[in-house]
Symmetry: C2
Subunit: 211 residues, 2 copies
């Protein structure tokens, strides 16, 4: 008997190895730049065996994307709201999202690549699926914060949400490159970065009259 005679999708060891190899390579180089031979090599198997498990390259890519999207959704669902003021909730959520991103760089890279790729048919759907969820929760928080008079009500909640997502995503994308810019020490400490960004977003950069 198998270890997990779960459902139809039992997903043997070999298949899992192929999926992981493919995820890693697709995330690094993108669809076109990765060959089936390279995936087979990394998965310690043969090219025909990949075609035994997946009907073609695109099917494999779709399977990889699907698991990445599922993981991303699960991560977001598990990210419960910080209690407290809306400032605290927003800050907590943003920090949690950044933490998730950095904890699952391959999935994030993959999804981000697909989302930003333009000429992808399923790009739209993935955008709505993955970004949409994050987006809606942030928009809702800002909106509630406005209704409770904690936040200024002349701010576009979707814009505020977009800025938060932007800073997290671009931090993730740029952190390898920023390693070579000595002034940017914050790049090595995501928690500090997140705190700093949210401090600026919430309190602004301007000197206040009182302390």
């Amino acid at each position: 008997m198998k270890n997990q005679p779960d459902k139809k999708t039992t997903q043997s060891d070999g298949e899992q190895a192929i999926l992981e190899a493919a995820e890693s390579l697709f995330a690094q180089k993108g669809f076109d730049a990765v060959s089936m031979s390279a995936i087979a090599r990394l998965a310690n198997t043969s090219k025909p065996n990949i075609y035994h498990h997946f009907k073609n390259k695109n099917d494999l890519y779709l399977a990889v994307m699907k698991t990445a999207v599922q993981r991303s959704s699960a991560l977001l669902d598990a990210l419960e709201d910080t209690p407290g003021t809306f400032e605290q909730r927003l800050t907590g959520f943003s920090a949690g999202q950044l933490h998730n991103i950095l904890d699952h760089k391959r999935s994030t890279q993959l999804i981000l690549r697909e989302t930003l790729s333009e000429d992808s048919p399923q790009g739209q759907e993935i955008t709505r699926l993955v970004m949409g969820e994050v987006f809606n929760r942030l928009v809702e928080m800002v909106h509630q914060g406005q209704q409770s008079k904690e936040f200024r009500d002349d701010i576009d909640p979707t814009l505020a949400a977009f800025v938060i997502v932007s800073t997290n995503m671009f931090f993730f994308q740029a952190s390898p490159a920023m390693q070579h810019i000595p002034e940017a020490e914050f790049i090595d400490d995501a928690a500090t970065y997140s705190r700093g960004v949210m401090d600026v977003l919430v309190n602004g950069m301007l000197q206040r009259g009182d302390s």
Copy 2:
């Protein structure tokens, strides 16, 4: 006599057509996913003719990158500081940078791709060259704003600069994808977006005591 018997780099019509075709395709799909045949086709010439002007694919790519970086630098140099408070200078600079980006999408896409690509040898250099300049000017503005007591001095200037660059770059990257998310109307109006972002960054999201 030629039109422009300028320097050594006279750059004939054909060569220019090749460079433009290559820039367009490389920006859209990336190095690996673009074939020399496709470039030749788009440039209305033959593949061997490309090899007459450039010694190989990588050399062509480098030539394309070089012109893109030069254009980007020239654009930045031409972006003079807005006069006024540091808030106004920062806001003006950010809006100008975003305007430049959207006015030269192909170059920006190309440079951004290279900067964020990780396994690129010249990626570091381009990062320092292109991002570094923008970065330094922003950092300097924030720093001066702090010394003149206009900005809070407990903010990391490099972090503030990074946030401004992030929001501009991610806006550029995500705007095609955000087209399909109806709530995000701001995505169609870069000037409004820029104003909104800088308003939040400078003034914060919190409700103030006074008006």
